[in-house]
Subunit: 117 residues, 4 copies
């Protein structure tokens, strides 16, 4: 069986055993996701760009980063599960949009675009 599917099954069981479905409406899960993303962000806030790769290899920091990545991923999967969305399909669809939105020849080596609105 697909390992992502297997993880989803385990997550579903974890939540059911604790009777937490009642708290896991999509609004609350979007909050969980954003707050966990904020904790991951906190790991890098004082690290300058040019040291960010090295900092990610530091043993103690790496353990914290992996823990936060786990939290963010779990929150994302719980939200997808709740609203009946396929996360991989959603990513693939967005990648297709991004291919059109950012033609390689126009954006190569550039990062000066404002946030898309």
């Amino acid at each position: 069986m697909d390992e992502l599917q297997n993880l989803l099954d385990q997550l579903r069981q974890f939540v059911a055993e604790r009777d937490w479905q009642q708290f896991h409406d999509p609004k609350n899960l979007a909050m969980l996701l954003a707050s966990e993303a904020g904790e991951l962000l906190a790991e890098y806030r004082w690290v300058p760009n040019h040291q960010a790769d090295a900092a990610s290899r530091d043993e103690a920091r790496r353990a914290r980063i992996l823990s936060e990545i786990g939290d963010v991923g779990i929150a994302l999967l719980l939200l997808c599960e709740r609203i009946g969305a396929d996360p991989v399909a959603a990513m693939r669809a967005k990648l297709e949009i991004n291919r059109t939105r950012y033609p390689a020849d126009m954006v190569r080596g550039k990062s000066d675009r404002p946030p898309l609105k």
Copy 2:
């Protein structure tokens, strides 16, 4: 081939074709992830809890939510790729920790714990 692995390969190629690796250090990717999680959050900020499931089925809103889920997932995969982390392994490890941290018999039906510190 595993579909997550396939998506990762496509993402890697998308970034390489645009010469964007130079902007994708872990610090910037953690910022991308958090800002995309903030956009997903924005979709639910005026939706009351008891309407959040229904709102997630509204056609126009659902399209925006799936688009943001795609963005969040892509940012998470790009970060994992950059630091050499396996997202599914990170989630599995965190789920194990959560099993110990929240024994089913102690937390069943309860949500009143403060954010873990």
Copy 3:
């Protein structure tokens, strides 16, 4: 003297005594702000809308909320200080824009607008 100005002076001194200006470029301060906003968010993630006012009066939770509000406010002031922005003027200007963008007669009692882009 204005109490906000007085606080700004104290913040400036706090940072200077620790020689932290070097870490407080606007990028890092925007990260600080977003991660602190994430911690504040975490206080409400399992609280349903209809209990959010009462939860904000609970003594232990209130202490944590005020602590996070302090963190968010300090991060915002540090960013404003660094880039030479007047936070109150920025809020006043945005309020004026919002008056035009959301005419009272058109939006009264409605929250169903999508996030502005």
Copy 4:
């Protein structure tokens, strides 16, 4: 009158004229705050640390940054208003805690502390 108090009065009137108090419970306002902080974050995500001060002076970007600062500040004030908190007092109290938590002689010129838990 104090200019912050004056702004608060205007915000209160803005919300009342639109009958938006019903949407502005503390949970929703914490979400507003975090999503606006995410938009501010987005302005800096591709800017390297050493260019962040200069980028904050670029005219077009500066206008967007000030607009987001206005949004974040307004969200923070609305939340404080709703729960009856004094934002300046909250910041002053947190600054006092930070003075004790980070003695100048121990942390001078250092940023390598993990996020406080």
